[in-house]
């Protein structure tokens, strides 16, 4: 029997780690990430926000679109398929 992937388990807002968001005006579910990054040899520290989203919900995602998560609005800077199969997509973000 062929394996059928169920990404809804990963993108469960009610019971899991996902967050409800709005991507370019459409409701989506994401897993948010925000890594700290040193810049200018440690003179400043900033963040590298990104999120995982299902490929289906990211089908129309593009650089320049807005992603609203709670009270924070981000701008999509890049869209890259996550290995190994691209079922999830990582959106690289910047706070608007």
């Amino acid at each position: 029997m062929a394996f059928t992937e169920d990404l809804s388990v990963f993108m469960d807002v009610a019971e899991g780690f996902a967050l409800a968001a709005t991507l370019n005006g459409s409701a989506v579910e994401i897993i948010s990430d925000s890594e700290g990054v040193d810049v200018f040899d440690g003179q400043a520290v900033t963040t590298m926000p990104s999120c995982l989203i299902s490929a289906a919900q990211a089908a129309s995602a593009a650089a320049g679109q807005s992603l609203v998560v709670g009270a924070t609005t981000y701008t999509v800077r890049a869209k890259n398929a996550e290995p190994p199969d691209g079922a999830l997509v990582r959106l690289t973000l910047t706070r608007a």
Binding site: E35, V37, D38, V39, F40, G42, Q43, A44, V45, T46, T47, M48, P49, T75, R77, L93, T94, R95, A96
Partner: protein
């Protein structure tokens, strides 16, 4: 009192800190990183200092050439270059507002701008930029009075 070069750094910092946009945002002794919430901000510090005695007598009059770096750091998601250039413009306007500021009065110095460097971070949100003003400050001390600019 403090070492003459430290007095110079403090005076430069005080002039930039008098710009309304930078009140409380100019640092002279901060080694830990600036966070997004701290920006825009300046770090002012002494770099190299060349000292040349001007004669064989004691106490010897010494000519100092101190390089002072002013790093302006800003965050902007659009037109970041404009943001850091605006920081430099406002700081330079204050530093060279008059002959008095260019002499770092009440210190007796001669300050000139030697270089401007720009850098934009590509890490993280790629929204942070830095502009560095390299200032040359000349002054004199006697070798037995390192805390007194003559």
């Amino acid at each position: 009192m403090a070492l003459a070069s430290a007095q110079v750094v403090d005076r430069v910092a005080a002039i930039i800190a008098a710009v309304p946009a930078y009140v409380g945002k100019v640092h002279t002794s901060r080694a830990w990183p600036l966070a997004d919430a701290d920006l825009p901000a300046w770090r002012v510090y002494a770099e190299s200092e060349e000292v040349e005695p001007t004669g064989p007598t004691f106490p010897a009059l010494q000519s100092h050439e101190l390089m002072v770096a002013c790093d302006g750091v800003a965050r902007a998601t659009a037109n970041l270059d404009d943001s850091i250039n605006a920081m430099a413009a406002s700081a330079l306007t204050a530093l060279f507002a008059s002959a008095s500021t260019a002499r770092l009065t009440p210190l007796n110095c001669a300050m000139s701008l030697r270089r401007i460097d720009r850098e934009m971070a590509t890490e993280g949100e790629a929204a942070i930029g830095r502009i560095t003003l390299a200032l040359r400050v000349r002054f004199h001390t006697f070798n037995n009075a390192p805390e007194t600019i003559t």
